[in-house]
C-alpha cells in the first residue's frame, strides 16, 4: 500500500499537473475552469458522476501529443479521460509517490 499522506498543502489545479502526478482531491472549484465548455453547476455534476469528489486519490497517467491534451486520470480506481480546461476545476494536493 503506497503512502497516501498529503505531503504538501500547496494545491494546484489538476489541469496544470504533469504526467506522473499523484495527489488527492481537496476541492472542486468551478471558478478555476472558466474555459470549460459547460456552465459551472453542470460541469461540477459531471465531474462528480465520474468520481471526482473531495478525498479521492488521483494520478495523471497519460496525456495527448498536442499541448499535452487531453489527459487520462486515475480517479480512485477508475480511469477517466478529460481535457485540461475542464480538469482546471479539480483542485488537488500532491501526495508522496510510492517508493
Amino acid at each position: 500500500m503506497p503512502d497516501q499522506t498529503i505531503i504538501s498543502h500547496r494545491t494546484l489545479p489538476l489541469g496544470e499537473a504533469r504526467v506522473g502526478f499523484r495527489g488527492r482531491i481537496v476541492a472542486l472549484d468551478m471558478h478555476s475552469a472558466d474555459g470549460a465548455g459547460l456552465p459551472g453547476p453542470e460541469l461540477e455534476r459531471r465531474l462528480i458522476e465520474l468520481g471526482f469528489v473531495e478525498g479521492a486519490t488521483v494520478e495523471l497517467l497519460h496525456q495527448g501529443l498536442f499541448g499535452g491534451d487531453p489527459i487520462a486520470v486515475r480517479v480512485a480506481g477508475t480511469t477517466i479521460a478529460l481535457r485540461r480546461r475542464e480538469a482546471m476545476a479539480v483542485s488537488v494536493a500532491p501526495m508522496k509517490t510510492p517508493s
Binding site: 500500500m1 470549460a36 465548455g37 459547460l38 453547476p41 460541469l43 461540477e44 455534476r45 459531471r46 465531474l47 462528480i48 458522476e49 465520474l50 468520481g51 469528489v53 473531495e54 478525498g55 479521492a56 497517467l61 497519460h62 496525456q63 495527448g64 501529443l65 498536442f66 499541448g67 491534451d69 487531453p70 487520462a72 486515475r74 480512485a76 480506481g77 477508475t78 480511469t79 477517466i80 479521460a81 478529460l82 481535457r83 475542464e86
Partner: protein
C-alpha cells in the same frame, strides 16, 4: 434482502397463471463498459433485435428468453449511463424507460443494475440513485472472474444487506455464468414486488456528492481491493496511449480497417453485383410486357441490388467497430484523436465514421452511433458524404483518363494520380470547413461539449457476442435502408423511363423521359457551370448511385456497352466537352448530393426529413458554387 421494497399483496391471486401469457419486462441499466451488452447477449442469444426508439437516433435493443422456472422475459438493454440525470438523448431514454415515462414502452417489472465487479465505485452511486425510483431493483455484479483474478474480494451478502436489494454475481461470458442471476430473477418476479413511490428527482451537485460518499462507504464496507490499475491495461496503455507511438498504432489500425472495408469487401460486392446483373438479365429475357420487364429489371432488381451491395462493407466495418469497442480500444482512439478532430469542431469519436465514409458514406453514417452527443453526431453525419466514397471513383477515373494528360510532373508524380489525390484532398478540406461552420452556425449555444469519458480496462472480446452484434446490425440495415432506398430507386426509374419514346423514335429512350425534360428544364441553371443537357440528364439516374452516371452518359451518347465501353465514352466525351466542362463536372461530383441511398440513410439515422434536406441543399449549394468557380476560372484561362 428487500429492504424498502414492499412485497405485493397479490391482489388478484386467482389469476396467477397469467404470468405465462404476458412476458415480464426486465430493464438492464448500468455504467458504460460494465459488460451490460455481453450480459444481454448471454441472456438472449440470437433472440434479439436492434431498432430505433421512435423519433430519436437512439438504438433500441430488446430480446427474449425464458427463465429456468419457465417464465417468459422480455429484456431491454438500455443505453449506458452514470446517472439518471440525462445529459444526452441516449441517457434520456434510459431515464424515461426506468421511470416508466416512455409512451411506447411498457413499464419495467424489474430493473437489473449491471455493474463491473472490478470497477464498482461509480456503479454503486448509480444503484443508490436507482433506489429512489422505487421500482423492484436487483444488482448484478458482472465480470466476477476478472475481479477475483485481480484480487478484489466482494462480500455479496454484506453489500446486499447494506443496499437493501438482492445482489448476485455473474460472468456473462462463461457458460452457466448467468445461472445465479436467472434464479434471482425468478425469485424477484415471484415475489411480485410492487413499485413503491418514486421520490427521484435530478440530483444536484451536493446530492451527487453525498451519494458518492455513501457509495465509497459501502465500498469500504463490502469490498477488499487494492484499487490498483489492471497490470495488463497499464502495460498496454503505456504503448497505446503513448503520445507518438499511440497515434502511429492508431493510424496503422485505421489503415487495416480502411483496407478491409475497401478491398476485402470488393470481391463480395462484385459477386453480389454480378448476381443481380445476371438475375436482371434473366428477367430481361422473360416473356413479359416490355414495361413490366424494365420495371423489374431496372427498377426493382437493380434497386434491391444497389442496397444489398453495401452489405459486405457494412458487415466488415461493424465487425471492426464492435471489436475495437469490446476490446476497450474505442475510447482510446477518441482520446488520441480528440485534439486533432477538435480543431475542426468534431468529436474524437468522429474519426472512425469519417474514415469509413471513404469506402461508402452509408456504413460511415451508421457508424456515427459511437458518438454519444447528438450535436456532434449530427455534424459528423452532415460531413460524412463529403469524404470521397468508392462510387465516385468510376466517375473520376473516366473524366481524368479522358481529359488529363498522362504525363509526369516533377519527374516522379503522375499528373492523373495527382488530380485524383487533389479530388480526395478537396473533399476532406471541405468536410473540415463545413463541420467548423456547422458547429458555429447550428450549435452556438453549446460550442464546447466537453470530452469526458471513462477509459475502461482492456478485455478480450467474445466472438459470439461480437458476431451477434454484427448480425443484428446487418439485419437492421437491410430492413432500414431497404424500404426507403428501394422506393427512391423506383422513383428514379420512373423518371428515367416515362414517358416512353414515340414509335419510330431514333434516339435512346431516356432522351424522351421525364429525366430528359428535367435535364432540359434545368439547362439554363447549369449553363454557367458549363454543363450541357446530356450531363443534366445523366445527373438524374446518377442520383441512384453516383457510378450510374457513367452508364447514363453512355446511353445518352448512344454508345454500345461492352468490354471497353468506358474507354469509348471517354473518347466521345473528350471530343464533345471542353476541359473546363470536364473540370467543372469533377468539382460538382466532389460535393453534389448524388446518392439517394445516402440521403435515405441520413433520413433513417437522424429520424428527420429536416436533416436529410439540410444535407441535400448544403451539398447542392457547395457543388454548384464549386463547379461554377472551376468552370469560370478555367474558361477565363482559356480551357473553355
Amino acid at each position: 434482502m428487500n429492504g424498502d421494497i414492499s412485497v405485493a399483496p397479490l391482489p388478484r391471486a386467482e389469476q396467477a397463471p397469467e404470468s405465462t401469457a404476458a412476458a415480464a419486462i426486465v430493464a438492464l441499466v448500468g455504467n458504460p463498459n460494465c459488460g451490460k451488452t455481453a450480459l444481454f447477449n448471454a441472456l438472449t442469444g440470437s433472440r434479439q433485435k436492434v431498432a430505433n426508439y421512435p423519433g430519436v437516433t437512439v438504438e433500441k435493443k430488446t430480446g427474449q428468453f425464458t427463465t429456468p422456472a419457465g417464465r417468459a422475459i422480455k429484456v431491454v438493454d438500455l443505453p449506458g449511463t452514470y446517472s439518471l440525470r440525462a445529459r444526452s438523448p441516449d441517457e434520456e431514454i434510459t431515464r424515461d424507460a426506468v421511470l416508466g415515462r416512455l409512451a411506447t414502452e411498457a413499464v419495467p417489472d424489474l430493473i437489473v443494475c449491471v455493474a463491473d465487479a472490478s470497477n464498482l465505485r461509480l456503479a454503486l452511486r448509480l444503484v443508490l440513485e436507482l433506489k429512489h425510483v422505487g421500482r423492484p431493483l436487483l444488482l448484478s455484479l458482472n465480470m466476477m472472474d476478472i475481479a477475483r483474478k485481480r484480487g478484489i474480494e466482494i462480500d455479496i451478502d454484506r453489500l446486499s444487506a447494506a443496499l437493501g436489494i438482492p445482489v448476485v454475481s455473474s460472468v456473462a461470458v462463461r457458460r452457466g455464468g448467468t445461472d445465479g442471476l436467472l434464479a434471482e430473477l425468478d425469485r424477484a418476479l415471484d415475489r411480485r414486488l410492487q413499485a413503491g413511490v418514486s421520490d427521484w428527482h435530478a440530483p444536484n451537485a451536493s446530492e451527487l456528492r453525498s451519494g458518492q460518499r455513501e457509495a465509497d462507504r459501502l465500498l469500504r464496507l463490502a469490498v477488499r481491493s487494492e484499487g490498483r490499475l489492471d497490470p495488463g491495461t497499464a502495460k498496454a496503455d503505456a504503448l497505446l496511449l503513448h503520445p507518438v507511438a499511440g497515434l502511429v498504432i492508431l493510424l496503422a489500425i485505421l489503415f487495416v480497417m480502411f483496407q478491409a472495408v475497401f478491398a476485402w469487401a470488393r470481391p463480395l460486392m462484385d459477386a453480389i453485383s454480378d448476381g443481380f446483373t445476371w438475375f436482371g438479365a434473366l428477367v430481361g429475357e422473360a416473356p413479359l410486357p416490355e414495361i413490366l420487364r424494365s420495371f423489374l429489371k431496372d427498377g426493382v432488381i437493380a434497386g434491391v441490388g444497389s442496397v444489398i451491395v453495401f452489405l459486405p462493407q457494412i458487415t466488415i466495418l461493424f465487425f471492426f467497430i464492435l471489436l475495437l469497442e469490446d476490446l476497450g480500444y474505442m475510447a482510446r482512439a477518441a482520446f488520441l484523436m480528440d485534439k486533432i478532430m477538435g480543431g475542426a469542431g468534431l468529436h474524437g469519436r468522429a474519426f472512425i465514421p469519417l474514415l469509413s465514409s471513404f469506402a461508402c458514406a452509408i456504413p460511415g453514417i451508421m457508424a456515427t452511433r459511437v458518438i454519444d452527443d447528438r450535436r456532434d453526431r449530427l455534424t459528423t453525419i452532415l460531413v460524412a458524404p463529403l469524404m470521397t466514397c468508392s462510387a465516385r471513383i468510376p466517375v473520376y477515373t473516366l473524366i481524368i483518363s479522358a481529359f488529363i494528360p498522362d504525363r509526369q510532373v516533377w519527374g516522379v508524380v503522375g499528373l492523373q494520380g495527382l488530380v485524383m489525390f487533389g479530388l480526395y484532398a478537396v473533399g476532406i478540406v471541405g468536410a473540415l470547413v463545413v463541420s467548423f461552420i456547422a458547429k458555429r452556425l447550428f450549435w452556438r449555444t453549446n460550442a464546447g461539449e466537453p470530452f469526458m469519458l471513462e477509459l475502461p480496462d482492456y478485455k478480450i472480446p467474445q466472438l459470439k457476442s461480437l458476431l451477434l452484434g454484427v448480425w443484428a446490425r446487418a439485419l437492421a440495415f437491410l430492413k432500414r435502408a431497404g424500404t426507403t432506398i428501394l422506393s427512391m430507386m423506383i422513383l428514379i426509374w420512373v423518371l428515367a423511363s416515362f414517358p416512353q419514346p414515340p414509335d419510330g423514335a431514333t434516339g435512346p429512350a431516356i432522351n424522351y423521359s421525364l429525366a430528359a425534360m428535367i435535364g432540359n428544364a434545368i439547362a439554363p441553371l447549369t449553363h454557367p457551370l458549363g454543363f450541357n443537357w446530356q450531363i443534366n440528364v445523366a445527373l438524374v439516374p446518377g442520383m441512384a448511385a453516383r457510378e450510374v452516371a457513367v452508364g447514363a452518359l453512355g446511353t445518352i451518347y448512344s454508345i454500345d456497352g461492352g468490354e471497353s465501353a468506358a474507354d469509348k465514352i471517354g473518347q466521345v466525351l473528350s471530343g464533345q466537352w471542353s476541359l473546363a466542362t470536364a473540370l467543372a463536372f469533377l468539382a460538382w461530383y466532389i460535393f453534389a448530393p448524388q446518392c439517394a441511398s445516402t440521403l435515405a440513410v441520413i433520413r433513417r439515422e437522424t429520424g428527420s426529413w429536416k436533416w436529410m434536406a439540410v444535407t441535400f441543399f448544403y451539398m447542392l449549394a457547395l457543388a454548384y458554387a464549386a463547379a461554377f468557380a472551376v468552370f469560370q476560372v478555367a474558361s477565363a484561362l482559356g480551357a473553355g
